[in-house]
Amino acid sequence: MNLDSKIPSGDLSEKWSNHKGSIKLVNPANKRKHTVLVVGSGLAGASAAASLAELGYNVKCFCIQDSPRRAHSIAAQGGINSTKNYPNDGDSVYRLFYDTIKGGDFRSREANVYRLAELSSNIIDQCAAQGVPFAREYSGELANRSFGGAQVSRTFYARGQTGQQLLLGAYQALMRMVDAGKVEMYSRREMLDLVMIDGKARGIICRNLTTGAMERYAGDSVLLATGGYGRVFFLSTNAFNSNCTASWRAHKRGALFANPCFTQIHPTCIPVSGDHQSKLTLMSESLRNDGRVWVPKRKEDASKPPSQISEDARDYFLERKYPSFGNLVPRDVASRNNKEVCDEGRGVGTSGYAVYLDFKDAIQRDGLQTIKEKYGNLFEIYDKITNENPYQTPMRIYPAIHYTMGGLWVDYNLMSNIPGLHVLGEANFSDHGANRLGASALMQGLCDGYFVIPYTLGHYIASTPLPAVDTQHPAFADAENSVRSEIQKLLTVGKTGKKTVLEFYRELGHLMWDHVGMARNEKGLKTVIQKVQGLREEFWNEVLIPGEATEFNKNLEMAGRVADFLELGELMAADALNRSESCGGHFREESQTPEGEALRDDENFCYVAAWGYTGQNKPETLNKEDLHFESIKLSQRSYK
């Protein structure tokens, strides 16, 4: 398949403005004749739904939660990047662009990333206008802090709850449009299939999660803003109900899935504590502004309490190995180093799989009050979970799955290879390459929703014949029937099964973490593909599911999602096996520098791997989009 990224011609810095000036527009009076289905109400979905409704489109917005305000964007803690350069420390559009490309280990599209950097400043203005209560200096101006992979302070924040505040801004804009009658909001709905008519995305099938009823919705375009697939690892920082089902069902209808093996392991999470744990909790990267990461120099000290380990017996390994970035190296580098010192036997805590994040020096330098103001809520969360006071004892942290850079393939207009199916935010693959820098997820979600899709969707609608369709079209009946029969199949097995959905889910998570987690190798990947196939077969013979389809039934919802993860997991391993280079968060043990850093192979792998579904239990086909770098010279990443 020929993948046309539709990158506009011209100089990098002029591509977006030229493109906006040349794409087609929909007359204001005609916009009200078009219906747009937005699936997901996080930063990308809510901002898109609100903005499109303001333009005059009829929007229907869907979310699995009981309210759009609860989408998982709400849990983002640290901040949002922007090139405002208020601190006057030398930031610019080019620097944010360069840092993001380099942070992603040169596996993202130049033009998309440049546009993101260019629009980052508008996002802050937009959110401030909505009344988002950003942190401020005593002057009344907005405050900034630093994040990993950058040498400037360009991160805006609202305490440790930046995602919450940005999402509430977008949610309020969305509810304003509900009030205006331009958005119909459908909560507790799960998209279970994409409806295609004449090769175009024209509708969705949803299950009403309250009643179990099947519902059909038709429109002129479908926007997926359904987040990432980190829950394939079961334990992750993602919310309990986050899932890949909407994306995966679209994939099965033909949408290509790009770079599925690019997953992000966040270095600072509260370590795993037991078998019954249901999720992991992030401790924001912003903590690395002031916290110092260390382990004992000697293995023998690992079991001693930290207070009994003297200063000269501590190894501040990130500061030692990466003097110019220190504790603020990018996430993939920090995570790998954390794992490495634990594998050496120098890890701390009961499991030996944790490192210290120590605030003693920062408290001595800046005072308890300052540290409390900056991180108070994070310290409280830590205390609640671990029963330890991080003001007195260093935090114990360990890497965990946090974000997925891969996702459905989209072109420059955020449209997938299926005409009319647009994909926004974490659900698409486009901007973060093989590793996302901190404080860039919020930026991308809002950029896609507020400032990109309102233009590019108009172009699609204006340039595409879209004859009216309604939900009586046979394609809707076909899709609904296939969803119904899949659910029936689950429930039929489910009546006599032996293992609960949660047991399968945990087992899959363990397999993925062990073999497709922080380090991957050929043998492990080949093994895990077989094991996932086996587990999938077992699932379809042995899964135990309570209740019926026609009622509120969370186990049934979860069963459908786990069934999809059992397919996606195999594809992730296949992608990781194919990409025998290391890059960013994808670390193939066979490909490393003498110092143990990720070693890319630009000659053979400077491409986006976009996989096409070919049928149940069949290997997927690989399509390649070559990445062309016009303004950046590819180099080995160095944070030393």
Binding site: R69, R70, Q164, I381
Partner: protein, 249 residues
């Protein structure tokens, strides 16, 4: 690690129309370092394996920010700890042999959907009645063109941290949504961006709150005690001032 034996009394209700009742359950060998919701997960695994219907409850982020979870635990919304959502409550705060009574939020405006799951969409409708700044997506003046004194910004942020969980309503003997509504009114009213619509906002949101069937505020303060984000009841005083002002206009 200490292990707990627990007696649970849980509200079971199959659907909104059904007559619900408390059902007793016993759990043993519960690690005290798991969360309250993970304890319910364990109960559900046992129920499913013995062919019974699991207890339905809402939860999502499980780190205290999404506002999905929330049940009444021994008579207290979100349980015994201050400033803590149900998902952040750990079993180490319970003792071996304890009886724990678990109920859904109780309010006419929050109908029960199933077991511990309630319908809180009334909160969305209150926000839709003016809990926003009427600005559009597009070019805006530079973010620093409005200077906001740090203490004002901090106070706005305190009020904006509401997670919309509904504990304030569940804790209030009148089932009033005043704290929820006032938190948003105060957050936006404090900021220059929200000021132009201040009167219209308070008028419409309060009217909507009443129409949705929430009770009136009689200054009891249970809402503040139950609020996991410790929103101040000063916001309710501010809402009343703004309301009186709006009536004059």
């Amino acid at each position: 690690m200490p292990k707990l034996k627990l007696n649970l009394e849980i509200w079971r209700q199959k659907n909104p129309e059904a007559q619900g009742s408390f059902e007793p359950y016993q759990l043993s060998d519960i690690d005290d370092d798991i969360s309250f919701l993970e304890m319910l997960d364990l109960l559900n695994e046992q129920l499913i394996k013995s062919g019974k219907a699991p207890v339905e409850f809402d939860s999502d982020c499980r780190e205290g920010i999404c506002g999905s979870c929330g049940v009444i635990i021994n008579g207290q919304a979100h349980g015994p700890l201050q400033a803590t959502t149900t998902c952040q409550l750990y079993m180490r705060h319970f003792g071996d042999g304890d009886t724990i009574i678990i109920e859904p939020w109780r309010s006419k405006a929050f109908p029960v959907i199933r077991d511990l799951v309630v319908d809180r969409s009334a909160f969305d409708r209150i926000i839709a009645a003016g809990g926003y700044v009427s600005t559009k997506t597009g070019p805006h003046p530079d973010a620093n063109s409005h200077l906001i004194p740090k203490p004002v910004a901090d106070q706005a942020m305190d009020n904006a941290t509401c997670i919309g969980c509904g504990a304030c309503v569940a804790a209030c003997p009148n089932a009033s949504a005043s704290l929820f509504t006032a938190a948003k009114i105060s957050h936006l009213g404090l900021l220059p961006q929200g000021n132009p619509e201040r009167s219209k906002r308070v008028f419409r949101m309060v009217q909507k709150m009443d129409l949705e069937g929430f009770g009136n505020c009689t200054n009891i303060g249970e809402c503040r005690a139950a609020c996991p984000k410790e929103i101040s009841i000063d916001t309710i005083a501010q809402m009343r001032r703004d309301y009186v002002q709006a009536l004059k206009e």
